[in-house]
Subunit: 272 residues, 2 copies
């Protein structure tokens, strides 16, 4: 892959990388289409990264369908798919990790302490292997997007990061490979994340500025479903993820909710 | 620097990086001469890296003489010297660190816990800025050399690391910028490191295989000087730094000794 990338760049072409864990959906495809617009060559990596899963998390059950993924990408005109194995990226004796300290201590980093260290580590590796000019990330994983931007800046990677808007199902559910876990009767409780975000947006539109009030209403809505278990609901600074009490500038509202065994996340920017 | 490096590489030339903390001596110059042999362009970075100094260490007093360094490098025909400031490499909000876990837990990593995390972090940055094909390191810092090799492999940097032999003064003292700290009457105790290593080599040559015996003799020799304070003397595996009891293959003998306030290190490969 490294040699192949070097050849592409030697020929004067630019490379856009779309790093994924596979089991692709319309959200991923939207990233691919952006990549194709901004660079000459698009490389999609498919790698379920063990380093970003905690011991009790869903590494083994995480959905995989490489054949279908490749067919989807072929249809989009993607010529290069990078599918390393865990042993290739983490051989015996592997021990080097990349860590963005402060940003990882908020939101998803609290209940998933391995997550962002694993993400920044595997991305450092993928960036060094693929050597892209640009890389495209979805903003459903908003914290990941901000952390990747910080890492790029801190470690002086010469790569432009592009954040892409959340893609949703017709009913509003944010697209996620983990939606495949949801049973039929879990669809409604799963939708409570989006509904809580839209409700918050409406409250802000009506003049509500107190984060506590907005979060309270969101809690109530989500808890009205039996199968939901809230991990966090946060209204916080867009760049630092520090909690905000009064909304007097655009802020991030982010939440993580377990629906049965499936952990879902979603977010919205609230602007007063 | 990043743009300048890209231009050099675009013109088809290869780049060798010699990362230094300045106050250059013959040891550094030997690295420069190797760099000049193996690549078209040599870039020497001079940066006293705050991230690798602990709070009680000698960051502020570390010797600096940029003017003399530049004159020395000019004499060697080096055209590119990269001298970033601490604020440029670690701006406000900086938070991303690279860490090679296991190898950092031995030898110098024990008494200097910030050292290797700082080294691997700044090197990741320098590698991303300079984008060298090769990088040259002195083997006086043997642990650093092994950790850099591990990091290069783990993070998939497309860079060849070259290790260069220790350069010594006429009396055997390993060249180091910190030798500048030594007072006249500390020269003899400082030499005890080299003498202990040579004594160990002799013992192995005579058939001694027990690490304990060899270390005991080294301890005795170094402790015979008033101003020495041993940090560690280790006979260990060349690749993992795990302690070795019986020398039945080439091993590393490494030591760190304080002479007055000056911490000196040295090492030798012992082959049975």
């Amino acid at each position: 892959m490294q040699k192949f990338s070097a050849q592409i760049k030697k020929s004067g072409k630019t490379i856009a990388l779309v790093p994924t864990m596979g089991y692709l959906h319309e959200g991923h495809i939207s990233l691919v289409r952006i990549a194709q617009k901004v660079c000459d060559a698009t490389i999609v990596s498919i790698f379920v990264n063990p380093a970003q899963f905690g011991p009790s998390e869903d590494l083994n059950s995480y959905p995989r369908d490489l054949e279908k993924d490749c067919a989807l990408l072929k249809k989009e005109g993607v010529e290069t798919i990078f599918t390393p194995t865990p042993k290739e990226l983490y051989p015996a004796g592997y021990q080097t990790y990349v860590n963005a300290l402060h940003l990882s201590e908020h939101l998803c980093g609290i209940s998933r302490p391995a997550l962002f260290k694993g993400v920044t580590t595997v991305l450092t590796k993928l960036f060094n292997i693929v050597s892209p000019n640009k890389a495209v990330f979805g903003k459903k994983d908003f914290q990941q997007f901000v952390i990747v931007c910080q890492m790029i800046k801190d470690l002086n990677f010469n790569i432009e990061i592009i954040g892409a808007p959340i893609v949703r199902e017709a009913d509003g559910l944010a697209m996620s490979s983990r939606n495949a876990y949801l049973k039929k009767n879990q669809r409604k409780p799963a939708l409570s994340l989006y509904k809580a975000l839209k409700q918050s947006e409406q409250l802000v539109k009506k003049g509500e500025k107190r984060a506590e009030t907005i979060i309270g209403a969101a809690l109530k809505l989500i808890n009205s479903f039996d199968e939901t278990l809230i991990d966090y609901i946060s209204i916080c600074n867009l760049e630092t993820f520090e909690e905000v009490k009064i909304i007097d500038c655009p802020v991030l509202m982010a939440l993580a909710v377990k629906v049965g065994k499936t952990r879902l996340i979603d977010n919205i920017i609230l602007s007063p």
